[in-house]
């Protein structure tokens, strides 16, 4: 760094911030060298002037106090490029939406601005230089596991887009049932019976270990699409008159016609089956039976018609003579008389209603095959019900936590034919993005300090995106195409061996220390760690709305709450902060899946230590907010400020839980077993 100290540019937003901020005091923030005051930093003429000034000032660290708009960030990027600054040696501090617009008293708004500017400068001096991007040479081939409708739709689309596709059939069944899409002369269009054993590597460059009849082989693939189906178990016709919907469907599909059903009555029991996929197959079966002169009864409670064209087909079936019987609470009573089934239900308004049927078709949800081994091979977590991944907003409906691995079809959630195909085509496009040939530069977001790494493998176990691997070197390796930059590994590493390019540990601590000193605010500071995916955008909206909140609330942006360590929570309290707030996504909306939970764990640990020191462990608090929900954030900030005002410990007025309470539950340690909160992976 040159001897001048970091450079500071202050933008007055065309003078709109005059009277709301004291620019002279911002300019006098200690530690800075050259200072420029401009009024149009985000305009082309403004950033050009700033770039020229920067070059002349010879600055190699730059802080711009401007606004929180993307335009300011873009302008900063242009200035950095023009002035030859590393992207991580320059930053924008939002003094408009985070100070001027939300703190009506210019004195406090300015004081907070000074602290934010000083913190940014302190952080930049600890920033890591941007590492050169890693290069991925994707394989151009995609592995589709399961020649189901969804899988074949994906495979077909991928071939249309010029990708090589290998379709694996883990059911090892006769694959003639589903004829392969695409060019049948191409050797890779026939599903290969085989089992997936392991997938290592990263999106674009996976090695899939596959067991086939010829033995075990390693395939280099750029993406994996899982589209397995329930096993194709077809019971022999006529031996049973109690079938599942799936069995009946497959039986008719294989037999072509069903002479044995002519003139017979078939009852479909869909009472516990509100899925559109069940309605879809029941309707088509019932319709075809009615058209062959038989009789169809459909018992249901909620008819699942939330699929394209299903309501229309429901009406068509009704007109064609299919009988629909809606039932309420009780399940139907099934009996037998003269070799036929008797189905008796209580229909509101009609009373007991009995029908006889020759065949009963139970509409239980098509059970997925046991997915445990497949999920383990892919290192993807299954849902508690044993189905595919998901029920998490960022993953629906085709993604998994592991970049480059997609999961579609009925083994994920019941889906109609139309939906299965649509999801297949969507997954194909997502897979193409990972696998398309051609060199791709991927920015490196985590750097491993090989000297520090103790190879404890904590990172490997906690990484939500399976981006950590044991390489050949003396340290663990982070795969750049898999890494999503959340920093969960860096927070969990006991040796401090992983540095996040966006949020290195020392930078966070330096920022914190700088934030906690500086000109007096209207009360002791409250540190709020804000997730860049949720709390930061919500806070920006508050700023745009000029919704006032306490100026003592100082926001520290982190890529994900999972980046927070106990130390980050403890240090502010030790330095006199009144409260520490960890505000991020909800568990099910976290892009990195574990962020909020890891944050709660860090808060618990910090609360235990704080408690032992006589500090108020209850002052560390976690909360969730959506990026669009500024009302909740406003209420939260008000509540936190109010609690801090009272100075009351353990107050429950604020939303979110105080960490100390939960920590007390988890502190019991076994006689010969050491349990430490920060290391736990299981919930």
């Amino acid at each position: 760094m040159s001897g001048t100290g970091p450079a500071l540019i202050i933008c007055t937003c065309g003078g709109a911030l005059a009277g709301r901020l004291v620019f002279d005091r911002l300019a006098a923030t200690p530690g800075f060298g050259p200072v420029m005051v401009t009024q149009d930093f985000c305009m082309p003429e403004g950033w050009r002037r700033a770039a020229v000034w920067c070059r002349q000032a010879g600055a190699d660290v730059l802080v711009v106090a401007a606004c929180g708009t993307p335009a300011a960030t873009e302008a900063l990027g242009r200035v950095a490029t023009a002035a030859g600054l590393d992207a991580h040696r320059a930053t924008v501090v939002d003094v408009r939406e985070a100070c001027a617009w939300v703190h009506p008293e210019p004195r406090w708004a300015t004081a907070k601005g000074v602290r934010l500017i000083a913190a940014a400068a302190a952080g930049l001096t600890e920033a890591v230089r941007t590492p050169p991007p890693a290069e991925i040479i994707p394989s151009g081939r995609v592995l589709v596991v399961g020649p189901s409708r969804a899988g074949l739709a994906a495979a077909g689309r991928l071939r249309e887009l010029g990708c090589q596709v290998v379709v694996l059939d883990p059911s090892r069944s006769d694959s003639s049932r589903a004829s392969p899409a695409g060019d049948p002369t191409s050797p890779d269009s026939v599903p290969i019976p085989g089992r997936l054993l392991e997938v290592t590597g990263q999106a674009g460059d996976f090695t899939a270990r596959v067991e086939t009849a010829e033995g075990i082989l390693d395939l280099r693939v750029g993406a994996v699409i899982v589209a397995v189906e329930p096993p194709a178990h077809v019971p022999p016709p006529d031996t049973s008159s109690l079938l599942t919907l799936l069995a009946m469907e497959r039986w008719i599909a294989t037999a072509g016609t069903t002479p044995s059903l002519h003139g017979k009555t078939v009852a479909f029991l869909l009472e516990d089956c509100p899925w559109p996929s069940a309605t879809e197959s029941a309707l088509s079966l019932a319709l075809s039976l009615v058209r062959q002169g038989g009789r169809s009864l459909i018992y249901y409670r909620d008819l699942g018609v939330a699929g394209r064209g299903l309501e229309e087909r429901f009406r068509e079936a009704r007109h064609a003579g299919v009988t629909f019987i809606r039932m309420e609470s009780d399940p139907p009573r099934i009996g037998e008389r003269d070799g036929r089934w008797v189905v008796e239900v209580d229909v509101p308004g009609l009373g007991l209603f009995a029908e006889t049927a020759d065949v009963l078709v139970r509409g239980d949800a098509a059970r997925p095959p046991d997915l445990g081994d497949l999920a383990e091979a892919l290192r993807v977590d299954l849902r508690p019900d044993g189905r595919g991944p998901g029920e998490r907003m960022p993953l629906e409906p085709v993604f998994t936590e592991r970049p480059g691995v997609f999961w579609i079809g009925p083994s994920r959630s019941p889906c109609t034919v139309d939906q299965a195909i649509r999801h297949g085509e969507a997954a194909a496009m997502a897979a193409l993005a990972a696998a398309a040939p051609g060199r791709r530069a991927v920015s490196v977001q985590a750097i491993v300090d090989t000297g520090r790494c103790a190879l404890c493998l904590t990172c490997l176990r906690v990484c939500p995106h399976r981006a950590v691997t044991i390489g050949d070197g003396p340290a663990i390796e982070v795969l750049p195409a898999a890494c999503q930059g959340c920093g969960v590994c860096a927070a969990a590493c006991p040796a401090g061996a992983i540095q996040m390019v966006e949020a290195p540990g020392r930078r966070l601590l330096a920022e914190l220390d700088a934030l906690l000193s500086g000109p007096a605010l209207d009360g002791d500071p409250i540190i709020m760690f804000a997730c860049a995916n949720s709390a930061v955008p919500a806070a920006r909206t508050l700023g745009r709305l000029r919704h006032a909140y306490a100026d003592r609330i100082l926001l520290v942006s982190v890529p994900c709450l999972g980046r927070i360590e106990p130390e980050h929570c403890l240090r502010p309290l030790a330095a006199g902060a009144r409260r520490v707030l960890l505000c991020g996504c909800y568990d099910r909306s976290c892009q990195h899946l574990v962020g909020p939970r890891r944050a709660r764990m860090a808060a618990e640990r910090a609360a235990v230590v704080a408690g032992a020191l006589g500090l108020d462990g209850g002052a560390i608090q976690t909360a969730s907010v959506a990026p669009v929900d500024w009302h909740r954030l406003a209420a939260l900030l008000d509540a936190v400020a109010a609690v801090a005002e009272e100075g009351g410990a353990g107050d429950r007025a604020a939303r979110g839980e105080a960490a100390g309470e939960r920590a007390a539950e988890g502190s019991a340690a076994g006689e010969r077993t050491v349990k430490v909160g920060t290391g736990k992976v299981a919930a």
Binding site: P494, A495, G496, L573, V609, A612, T673, V674, V676, G679
Partner: protein, 225 residues
Amino acid sequence: MIVAQQKPLEEIRHMVAGFRRLLVLGCGTCATVCFAGGEKEVSLLATALRAALGKDVAVEEATVQRQCEWEFLDQVRAGVGWADAVLSLGCGVGVQAVAERYPGVVSLPGLNTKFVGLTEAPGTWSERCLACGDCLLDRTGGICPIARCSKSLLNGPCGGAQDGHCEISPDIPCAWVLIHERLTRLGRTDLLEEIIPARDWRPSHAGGPRRVVRPDLRVLAEQEV
């Protein structure tokens, strides 16, 4: 790996009372892996101590690769020289190594060294070896009755095991049940028929402090043997 656990903060506070310059010294090997004394724990404890002890006490932090090697300890000579006391977040070996290398400095244990064991699951470590000095794992299916049986019995369970759990600590499995299961799976239950004679405990700590000497590895001819 050696597994250790940080002492309660109360105890540490009591221990460091009266010192004005404190060096919190971490260890980058076992103590790091068991989340007891790595760089992050050092930093957390240092922050905690600064807050607890106030401005009159200076707290510095450092972490070495392994506290049980002289050369690594030499790297922090300046810091140790400055301090009145070194609070070692290494195992008991580290604390003593610091004391031996720096005779003029008070060396304090920040950890309780628990056992030789492994990471069962993230956040859980358990004991596997008692360092008895005479390994018999070949006869017990690779499960150590000395470390894992509460009574270190050598020839089958004590009879107090309930549902496969130890009668002393019901939350741990009975080692002999595990041994039996494992040998059954390996088809080697015949090993159980051999009586393991009463042990000679001299190779263990019962024989006094131990030492391993490999003359072939000596660097200096005059090195004391």
